[in-house]
Amino acid sequence: MPALTDGKKTGGSFLYDRGFRSLAYQILLGVFLAFLAWTLYSNVNENLSRQGIATGWDFLQTSAGFDIGESVIAYSAADTYGRALVVGGLNTIRVAFFGIIFATILGVFMGIARVSGNWLLSNLASMYVETCRNVPVVLHVIFWGTVIHLLPQPRQAIIPFEGVFIMNRGVVMPFPVYDPAYPWVGAALAAGLVGVFFFSRWARRKRELTGKYIATFWPGLGVIFVPALVVWVAFGAPLVWDVPALKGFNFKGGLQMSPEFFALLVGITVYTGAFIAEIVRSGIQSVPSGQIEAARAIGLRSGFIMRYITMPQALRVIVPPTASQYLSLTKNSSLGVLIGYPDLVNIGNTTLNQTGQAVEAIAIMMLVYLTISIFISTFMNVYNRLVAIEER
């Protein structure tokens, strides 16, 4: 502590001086790290040259020669390793994106169900949470990977809703056929989202200045959807569903999900949903019941209490751990390699095995995941700042 030594010599040998010791330790650490890095680097170089493996990134330009089952962008076996890795990265982002959305919905629902006053519902929800989070995510993924292959053939597909088919070749469902009007409708929707942001800010400022409460929920929904609806109707309300149909042994048309994608998505969603449910439950329970009683005592309606009393306080507890759940979901999407989903790790692993460029291939995987992690945590930090307590 500075108060005790104050940087001055306290007598005795300089070996007992804190400043000197701390400097010496840090120099030692630096020397050690530099030595370690140099040794490792020279060992790797020596080992690789002995095995006849060229280092460097040239392999990214050579033809990959393997096919990839599903891809967001155009890809063929003649394309380069670089493009194959991009395909893998996009597949990772795709499954993580939908996984985060569905896990959030599932987790929030189950978390609220766990604290509900309904005995049956809360017990069913805790059964879900306890069974799913106490089983490894690896098992979740290969379990669903196995289940989907035990499903019936396309001819006997399970039809939970009209037009949706679940079978061992994956899941297909109807999807709207593209129409030139849709980009405009999307633009109107985006404009509505921007509009609702300003609308709610205006309403809040008005409330804070005048004390007059302006309902924002239904008008807000109107601000979001009405422009899009108007644009859509102005274009003549185009809507043609591309309904999947059985042709030969397989379904054609509609939105198709491969069995691997579906199994991986279900596995990581069900697993992460259980953790998010626990976080949501603890967040809701962290709001002291006195807050809600006080709000009732001054005559606030229950929707208002939820929106302005419970949620702001619960979100502060919920957001940070949920962010780390999103991160772990993204990292767990790498388990696609187990069931043959062509994600980044799967394609990186194939690249590694074909070229022998272990260091480079693994470095690419790690860097991509690090980038995704940094992106998600930055986004969630910004959101966290929005919901955090505004202190003096």
Binding site: G117, N118, S334
Partner: protein, 385 residues
């Protein structure tokens, strides 16, 4: 005034008996109407206390009506528990639990030589016994636990390895099943936990170089999936070593898992360290304690107690994470099950085998989390707030 006070602040009504003169009884309001039958009252209060809840209950019941009978029929009524051959299972429409009886040896013990399985059983009994002893608070002392675990780990490892006293030597590449899961788990904790403490202390250090090193190390490793770290341990680490020097694959994987575990645990411990007030450090310093004395005797005992729930969560995660070795082809319980179920005859009944393995993981993790709640209760017994 005195009368008012005695009315508004009655003497503490303990057990419904008031001391001294009781204040004038307030006018009795009629009790709220209650349903006489206890079961009906319970239903009314817990399942149907609002119109929304009635709807929710009905929806849940409809769901259960479809799910439960189907599951009971598949899992119990139509299931085959003992089978002469796979034909019995094929004939039945339900689950084939007989597959577990058929395949339990390779599922739980992997590719370990068949005649030597008794060694694994003995090792598991020793290991579980040591866990049982550790769970009892009366044995919580370094003098008991340290020798116990040194003995247990040494004994189980020698049993697995063999190579003396007439025991056949078994290479680590042949270790498998539940014992391998346990070895990986204990290795992760034994290597990872001290490392986590060092990383947490390093991240709180006042020396900028130490702090920066720890921050970069922790954040980089937390940002990548465990799979990539295992790939490094298997594929890249051998390249780091000079020619002729080799480490066992099991050891490499264990160290990789331990480092991954340590980075997460370090963050939890850091949270505990941050919760210790400055006064504790200052008091320790004024007593003349050095850095390590302050940490080991004053700060860490309190910090670890504070963050116990988080620590246990990551220990449970470490146990579940042992299953990641499936990707790099080590025969832990899950990998062994997966490869056993490649058997074309029994392949149709993979789900049953996975459910069994999942049940074992569940039992362990659930017991550990329930036990940690109990420990928290014990630790907080002395606290009034």
């Amino acid at each position: 005034m005195a009368e008012l006070a005695s009315r508004t602040v009655p003497a503490a009504p303990r057990d419904g008996i008031m001391a001294g003169e009781s204040p004038p009884a307030p006018k009795r309001t009629p009790p709220p109407p209650t349903v006489r039958v206890p079961v009906l009252r319970w239903i009314k209060e817990n399942l149907a206390n609002s119109p929304l809840n009635v709807v929710v209950t009905v929806v849940c019941l409809i769901g259960l009506y479809f799910a439960v009978p189907a599951f009971v029929e598949w899992g119990i009524l139509e299931a085959v528990f003992t089978a002469e051959s796979h034909e019995d299972c094929r004939a039945a429409s339900g689950a084939c639990w007989a597959v577990i009886a058929e395949k339990h040896r390779p599922m739980f013990f992997g590719v370990y030589p068949f005649e030597e399985h008794w060694r694994l059983i003995l090792a598991l009994i020793l290991y579980l016994g040591a866990i049982g002893v550790t769970m009892m608070p009366r044995f919580w002392s370094y003098r008991i636990l340290a020798p116990l675990w040194l003995f247990t780990l040494a004994a189980t490892l020698t049993l697995l390895w063999g190579g003396f006293m007439g025991l056949v030597e078994v290479d680590t590449s042949q270790w498998g099943g539940l014992p391998l899961t346990m070895v990986l788990f204990s290795g992760t904790l034994v290597i990872g936990f001290p490392l986590a403490i060092f990383l947490a202390l390093g991240r709180r250090s006042t020396m900028p170089a130490v702090k920066a090193t720890c921050v970069i190390f922790i954040e980089c490793l937390r940002g990548v999936p465990l799979i990539t770290i295992l790939f490094v341990a298997v594929n890249v680490f051998p390249l780091f070593l000079p020619r002729g020097l080799e480490f066992d694959k099991l050891l490499r994987v264990m160290v990789g898992m331990a480092i991954f575990f340590a980075c997460y645990e370090a963050e939890v411990i850091r949270g505990g360290l941050q919760a210790i007030s400055r006064g504790q450090y200052e008091a320790a310093e004024s007593m003349g304690l050095g850095y390590w004395q302050t940490m080991t005797r004053i700060i860490l005992p309190q910090a670890l107690r504070i963050c116990l729930p988080g620590i246990v969560n990551h220990i449970i995660a470490a146990f579940k994470n042992t299953s990641f070795v499936l990707i790099i082809g080590m025969f832990d319980m899950l990998t062994a099950t997966t490869s056993v179920m490649q058997d074309p005859v029994w392949r149709r009944f993979t789900i049953e085998a996975y459910l069994c393995v999942g049940f074992i993981y569940f039992i362990f993790c659930y017991a550990l989390s329930k036990y940690s709640h109990q420990v928290e209760r014990w630790l907080n017994e002395g606290k009034r707030f």
